[in-house]
């Protein structure tokens, strides 16, 4: 599955960058987030509960940040497994200052889901993924002090 979007955030680009580099902040916006192990600023393992249709799974993701070019670009990769399902994520984040206190954030997300969530939840998967992504960015905007669009 491939998703992409861009968000206008009323905060300076450095603040937005700092937010995304702070694991607990990002994790706090992930729907279904339960807990996390932080191994380094660029490597952490959040546990996230996800439901797609009749299938519920609790994933322990292995997330790494690479390709860091502050404050403009980061690549995030996640690999996780739950009982009966697996997920592989890759996300590209590109930030650009659009003013002193405004930033545009362009993002892409590529996800490969395998197993029960993908087979039993096939018809609902894309929809659910879109909703989860939308909720995530709503939370990000809120935390960074802006009203939803």
């Amino acid at each position: 599955m491939h998703f992409e979007g861009s968000e206008a955030i009323r905060a300076p680009v450095d603040a937005v960058w700092a937010f995304f580099m702070d694991a607990p902040s990002v994790a706090g916006c992930a729907p279904g987030f339960q807990k996390m192990e932080v191994l380094s600023p660029e490597h952490y393992k959040p546990t996230v509960a996800v439901g797609v249709g009749p299938v519920k799974a609790t994933f322990t993701l292995d997330v790494t940040l690479t390709d860091l070019r502050p404050p403009h670009h980061a690549t995030m990769r996640g690999h996780g497994i739950a009982a009966g399902s697996g997920v592989d994520l890759e996300s590209q984040l590109d930030l650009a200052a659009t003013g002193e206190s405004s930033t545009s954030l362009a993002w892409t997300m590529d996800a490969v889901v395998s197993g029960a969530i993908a087979s039993m939840g096939a018809r609902l998967l894309e929809n659910t993924a879109q909703k989860v992504t939308a909720r995530f960015f709503e939370c990000v905007r809120e935390k960074l002090g802006t009203a939803p669009r």
Partner: protein
Amino acid sequence: MAVAIQGMGHSVKRKEDPRFLRGRGNYIDDLKLPGMLYMDILRSPYAHAIIKSIDASRALTLPGVLAVITGKDLDAAGLAWMPTLMSDKQMVLPVDRVVYQAQEVAAVIATERYIAADGITLIDVDYEPLPVVVDPKKALEPGATLVRPDREQKDNHIWHWEAGDKTATDQSFQEAAVVAKEDIYLPRIHVSSIETCGCVASFDKMAGKLTIWMTTQAPHAIRTVFSLVSKIPEHNIRVISPDIGGGFGGKVPVYPGYVIATVASITTGKPVKWIEDRSENLQADSFARDYHMTAELAATADGKMKALRIKTIADHGAFDAAANPSKFPAGLFSICTGSYDIPAAHMEVDGVYTNKPPGGIAYRCSFRVTEAVHAIERMVDSLALKLNMDPAALRLKNFIPPESFPYKSATGWEYDSGNYPAALHKAMDTIGYADLRREQAEKRARGELMGIGISTFTEIVGAGPSHTFDILGIKMFDSCEIRVHPTGSAIVRIGVQTQGQGHETTFAQIVAEELGLPVENITVEHGDTDTAPYGLGTYASRSTATAGAAAAMAARKIREKARLLAAHLLEASPDDLEWKDYQFQVKGDPARAKTMADIAFAAYTNHPQGMEAGLEAVNYYDPPNLTFPFGSYICVVDIDRGTGEVKIRRFVAIDDCGNIINPMIVDGQIHGGLTMGMAPALLEEISYDEAGNMRQSTFMDYLLPTAMETPAWELDKTCTPSPHHPFGAKGVGESATVGAPPAIVNAVVDALSHVGVSHIDIPITPWKVYAILEAHGLAAP
């Protein structure tokens, strides 16, 4: 007067019903043995992955979990791989990699069912996903992901198979005035009998004997395979088929679960039960179809068919485990010249590996005859469209004439008997074909969409003669053993295995007819390899043609001895007796007669000196040929222009299966077969996404027909007996599943042919139809 015989041709009520009606069937999950353990299987979420590690430590600490079995454990015993029925090999449990989603990865043995299910969630497997190949055409490209690195040949091509005369066929196509060509894809489907698969394996350490109750359509073949694989001598293996809740081909393969449960029983010394869930069944058990065909039919300008050419890519999944006879990797696909006198034909099939479960013929298909008939019946309509000819007229012009039987087809099959024009005329008269065409023209003028579809199929069943047919080397005879008791009743044991077809009734009827004993005094047993004579089982509509024939032949052997006993009792010469009205009568003096009951008593109390006592016989029947049931189906559909929904308004099925044992049971088979023909035509499909996820792993997404979608099928018959079968029967179990889908597709295409539609791949869902309507400006606002 004596109790009625009720042999051939009677709609005897079923002898198996009393227990089923009371909920007293003995299905595999009903079996409880003392100390029995339960097994559940952990399956791969990935379609293709390396297994880096399996950590079962958490599962083993769960109270009630006794063992976890992995590929490494089986490998130590040389059982991580097992042979398939197509001389390939298949993983029982993987040692280093998985090759399809839902493949078995590890098994938990526990004291209770729910604990075993908990146990599998506590096994940690570290997978490294690999690239996935789900498109067989992509799998054949150079550089494609290799599904089977264990093979010597390092590509995804399994085999190439051809039939017919390529030179003559190509020549014919070059010269042809008209050629119709279509790409036809038959998607994967899954047989989904309401009972899933399972077994109870029980190894008695003291006796060294393995008893395994198993949902199997072929218990003897399984016993032999198990013996060869496990090295347990065959006399120490007993396979028992209990009551089986539907088979349809899905209960022929040896699934890894059976083997793992057996190993578990041997290691624990306790009986081990394994019953799969529906989602396991749908995701991992043997599928059917998945044939990508390009078909061409050449004809003269006035509609005489000259040649047929079909190229097929066969997607077999990760292992070639279809249960075809060994010389036929593409089954009986070469029956695709169908009911027509086509002088030249050539077909080629290439088998391909992909990251999907193995299988290919598990859905009531007579070994790929569904594919063959779908192709030819679609091509006939496609040709009719090209020629602007009525599809019924085109068929009548090209049918093998009734006087040409036995008929040798261009691909070498000798059809035993047939009368195709009679069946088609009967179907057309019954449904009012001419009136329907008039109605269609009127409706079309008003913008209403109505279609009429015909399917005139010839089936090929009863595998099969020993010169051509074997499964893993075992010839495809079948058997029947009959013993008549002193007081005139009998026990019949057969080598075939019913899963709802009513053998306990029909085989009693065969013997009743042949021996003149009342059907209610005959009991039929099957399914226990310790007592039943060796047979190849029930699938591909073979039972009546093979074991049914064996029953008649065994009965006739008994009649030969009975004649001598009768002669002794009547103090007449055996040559002066005739078998008439179910008794031996003195020719010209019918009052002097002995019934089989009299004779049976004499066999034990008053047999002549020098003759052995008793009255029994066994026959292993090697059929001289296959049999060729056929039919004419006509389907009328109406298409809703607002929703794309296809409604079957009427469906007339004229079937010809030769002489019929029990008309009630035959009609039941046809009702069920038609429904399993409609299902893939309109509702069922198994598909995979790019990651190899199967999209229809429950009945929420894999749509079986309910009583709401299923029409009230209209049935009738013609009767063209088989000249070589002992009582002229042919078999009928799969005819309707073979014949129905193209009738339905032809009807939908017929409804839309006026706007240029010549083919639609199944399933014909409302969405597919609506897209076509929109594209042609026919969708209702």
